[in-house]
Subunit: 640 residues, 2 copies
């Protein structure tokens, strides 16, 4: 089995592999991060490695340039060792560990806000302290009967009292540990009360919960003091499933292959466990006191978390197994916290509008708005909700993951080294860059792409159709492998030593994505007989929103041309909604009502959507009348 | 770890052991059966072995005779290998595999009886066949929503429909496997319907269930066709927990020691799994179609089956963790049949009146008798229920396991080689034996002991106090290690080569047991103001009943002196009750009502019980007036 050794540089990590295992697979199981958008299918051309030493066999080098081949470049998914080898993972193939991805999104203040509005905060678990009379020969009913008798006296109302075998196994010792004083964790159901955990003594105030956002790209965990709503600590990591593909579609395909579903479930479970363990350790918490967990994720992520087959999400007519998940116990789904902790899952709406969006509706307060409002969440996909406290419609536009770097030559996620803002001098065509972490740049993240295209458009480098003007005399405008391209940073300035460029193909991809999102907005509005001017509040969720320049997003026609003050950036609304539902039964009730109320519009089969989409494949839009502020702008007038 | 080898003869089985492992422990984990009533504590002196070859260290040989020591006898629990060794397990230390322990107890006819009395037969699982409309773009709700919609239309009544994550994980494939036709396994609860399993296509008639009797000594399994009530097959084995002690008290002590509870749980689970696997294999059944299981056992056995701490059952004031167990899933408690099969546990009453006795109340029909009746189950313990369809009282008498051979020098269980009947010539004092399996005898089982004492009493060998008359001139009456003894079979006639005897100590033990049981009867009757003559039916359950000679049982004062026709032998009522509850919701309802209704009388603290017990420590009883037929018997008159 373990035939050869691979040494990875610059990590200086050596692992054993068999001759049948690709370098990508070997790296994956050893937790070595190599970019592989397509999940190792030989399609994306991202998993480049450089062979330093040793024999190998490679299936295809098709997408490599002659220069790369000369330098020893290979694709990790296409290459198998033929002996001990040493390889280098070049900077462009490395996945950087997430740094400070989580933002508290104002969660610290949300609890205060919640309580101040008079909403009753009630976690999933109800805690009851009981002092039982000790047994004697005249009163020697069973432990469970004694517990039920007291519970009925103190708290009950004739409802049937249910208990799990797991709790019965620890009942006798727990009752006697602190002289027949115990604290029960209960769940109230319509006709029964379920005892889900029991602790010796009185533990009414030490109560902790966990909120988890399972993003396609990033996983965020909050640990919350349920007695006062404080977020004690939070952390985040990349979703290790990125090893198996960048977007939900690739993951679904991966899941339907042999063992893939189990692998994906285990990857995300392990990620969450690591994050929780880290926080518990850091904060010196007793994991036994973690009583509840709320999970928010898109429909595919939630299916994978529970190990439920996501296959039919992808195939027409796009059917998830479920949008509403039963309460589960942590121990049963592999979460290594108190195994009796109860997991609540944010309810979803459809295959492409999941619990993360319901979370967003709760976090934004959209469900409570009296006037027409819109909520969008642009992550790996783009979801839109339109409505108010009376009604809600929702849709998903398959924008694709290009704003997260996928499918864009120099694209990357919004982490250290990403160009997040840029301006281009109108005369010299030289750019000025703002880079996350103030390091040499590694690539272009979503907000950087939007800035780049807007600035190139304003500077006349691209026209309304997204074509680069080859007449411009500048070394930065040149012909590359994918047609014309604009050089944003020269190799000698970059972290990778490679030029950072935006190609015509990239621009076309980004325009398709922005057109899909904009067409989503307009189709949804049309469906219910409104226009952009009717929108009072435009909530923007998702990590994307943190760096977005509204004006430039309007210039490229990603956002509608409405007054800037209507846009409200909310950051990660998926985790915020999960946090609110962790604390508050009223929020869970509203989330369930909202999920039920949301009418899902399937854009992929809408004729109107296709028309809107085609019209939006311009900068900013075929119909410039839809962008009145741009039309009247002096700065832009030249361009039309 | 594996330091040495032990070869066991006559099994010719060799196993590896460490120097720290006693021979008993090594045998135990290798499934080699050696008698050890005390569970390896060095108390019972049963686990004798003979060392044939090799070095060893032994802690104590205290209970061995000089002759035994000379022959190489050792105790398996006290001996540790010091090199490779060969040992022989002598016949008296072997536990024979159960042979034909299970009797159908008329179960074949019970179903017919049930249905003929108009009782509705309804298994635990409700099965519903559904044809779902396949999804399309206009109707693309989730799989679970589609299922709920159809279920509500066809079957539902507004009750909430619940499902387990495990079922969701297989939902999408199952729905599509046979073109959206599925059969659901449902459990109906007061305000919800729970989907507990799902199969593709229509499977309404292939439905199987399992009834299990977990006896302290023996485990019996029935496999039942739920569509027609037929017992397809049945089998039995010794409860492997006997390795850890003969009776419930020893098992409870074992369970409270390090790892003991888990070991006991695993032993009984493995036994049940083996029995089920054997039957499934033999009958070519699809284990996936086993939908429900009913477990009957005493309170300790049930606690151990679920891995619930039984410790406080033993300590005053004798508290079980629970008498009523929630429905469980087979997969979660380690039963290797269809993991979604639902387990129902026969409800118990108190620490020493368990689900096996409720089973007996159902199987005997006592819950339905209009006139006063008594039910007794003499297994490893003795339980009594008295009452009718209006009321029920119950008690347990710690008779001890002597009728199963424990604590009796030549005692053994009622298996092959056991003397089950005997008569003694009134003049020659020579006995005539009837042996199970017609083989050379190995020992004396419960019914043999009763016969022996009754015959010895009738022949004048023992007096009313149980003392052996040393004046009698017969080689069969002699002085042994434990005082006077009567030789029932000489070593040259027996399977073991050892004399089979009944000693004064044995007789004292048996008289204590029979006194406890008889005192239980009379105390219970007194408590409710009745006498023996008021009893119309006297049901006798338990394997014990199969061989019992009523007259002799009355002569020794074990059974009351009432007309013989009132005694009804029912065999194993624990398994019969479980079988009935597997088939019939009405029976489950009645079992639950009966368990609730039974008033438990704690005999161990009853003053009246102690008086009754003391009076019963004679043959047949201090008060001969209580035994009118014996008093007037010509045969017996000499004896009083």
């Amino acid at each position: 089995m373990d035939d050869f050794k691979i040494t990875f540089e610059p990590l200086k990590k050596t692992i054993k592999v068999s001759a049948e295992e690709s370098i990508l697979d070997a790296a994956k199981r050893s937790d070595i991060l190599i970019n592989a958008s397509c999940g190792g299918e030989g399609i994306c051309g991202r998993c480049k490695i450089i062979l330093k030493k040793g024999g190998y066999e490679t299936i295809s080098t098709e997408k490599l340039t002659p220069e790369e081949i000369e330098k020893g470049y290979l694709f990790a998914c296409q290459t198998y060792p033929k002996g001990d080898i040493t390889i280098e993972i070049p900077p462009e193939s490395r996945i950087k560990k997430a740094q400070k991805i989580a933002t508290l999104s104002g969660a610290r203040n949300l609890y205060r806000l919640l309580t101040s509005t008079g909403i009753e905060c009630e976690p999933i678990i109800k805690k009851v302290f009981l002092k039982l009379p000790p047994p004697n020969l005249q009163d020697n009913i069973s432990d469970f009967d004694r517990l039920k008798r007291e519970l009925t006296t103190v708290y009950g109302d004739g409802r049937w009292i249910d208990i799990d075998i797991d709790i019965l196994t620890k009942l006798s010792n727990t009752l006697r540990e602190k002289g027949w004083e115990v604290t029960l964790n209960l769940i109230e159901l319509p006709d029964s009360i379920k005892i889900v955990d029991i602790h010796p003594g009185e533990i009414l105030k030490q109560r902790f919960g966990i909120a988890v956002d399972i993003g396609t790209t990033t996983i965020v965990v909050y640990i919350v003091d349920l007695s006062n709503g404080k977020v004690i600590d939070h952390t985040a990591t990349y979703n290790s499933q990125v090893h198996c593909g960048d977007d939900v579609i690739t993951r679904i395909i991966y899941a339907t292959e042999r063992g893939g579903l189990k692998e994906l479930k285990n990857l995300v479970t392990a990620d969450i466990n690591k994050l929780i363990a880290k926080l518990i350790h850091k904060q010196h918490l007793d994991p036994g006191l973690i009583e509840s967990i709320v999970i928010a994720g898109n429909t595919t992520m939630t299916h994978l978390f529970y190990g439920i087959n996501p296959r039919y999400i992808r195939e027409e007519p796009y059917i998830p197994v479920t949008n509403l998940f039963p309460l589960a116990k942590a121990g049963r789904v592999g979460i290594d916290v108190n195994k009796e902790a109860v997991i609540y899952t944010m309810p979803g709406v459809a295959s492409y509008v999941g619990g993360d969006i319901t979370s967003g509706v709760i976090a934004s307060g959209l469900y409570n708005e009296r006037e027409l409002s819109m909520f969008i969440d642009i992550g790996t996909n783009g979801e839109i909700v339109l409505g108010n406290s009376e009604w809600l419609v929702t849709a998903a536009c398959s924008a694709g993951p290009c704003f997260e770097g996928s499918g864009i030559k120099s694209g990357m996620r919004a982490t250290e080294g990403a160009i997040e803002q840029l301006e281009i001098n109108r005369k010299t065509y030289e750019p000025v860059l703002k880079i996350i972490g103030n390091t040499p740049p590694s690539g272009l993240c979503g907000s950087g792409m939007i800035d780049a295209i807007a600035e190139m458009f304003l500077a006349g480098i691209v026209d309304q159709k997204g074509n680069i003007n080859k007449e411009i005399h500048s070394p930065r405008i040149r012909k590359g492998d994918n047609g014309l391209e604009y050089v944003i940073a020269w190799g000698n300035e970059t972290d990778t030593g490679i030029d950072i460029v935006l190609t015509e193909v990239d621009i076309e991809n980004i325009m398709r994505a922005k057109a899909a999102i904009y067409a989503g907005f307009s189709t949804l509005l049309k469906e219910v007989g409104f226009g952009f001017s009717d929108i009072r509040k435009f909530f923007i969720g998702g990590g994307f929103g943190n760096y977005l320049d509204i004006e430039k997003a309007i210039i490229i026609g990603l956002l509608p041309d409405i007054p800037h003050e209507k846009f409200i950036f909310l950051g990660n609304t998926s985790i915020t909604g999960a946090y609110l539902c962790l604390l508050c039964s009223e929020m869970r009730k509203r989330a369930e009502e909202a999920a039920k109320k949301m009418t899902y519009i399937e854009l992929s089969v809408s004729r109107s959507f296709m028309d809107e989409y085609m019209s939006a494949l311009f900068l900013p839009h075929t119909n410039i009348d839809a962008f009145p502020s741009l039309k009247s702008s002096r700065r832009l007038s030249l361009r039309f």
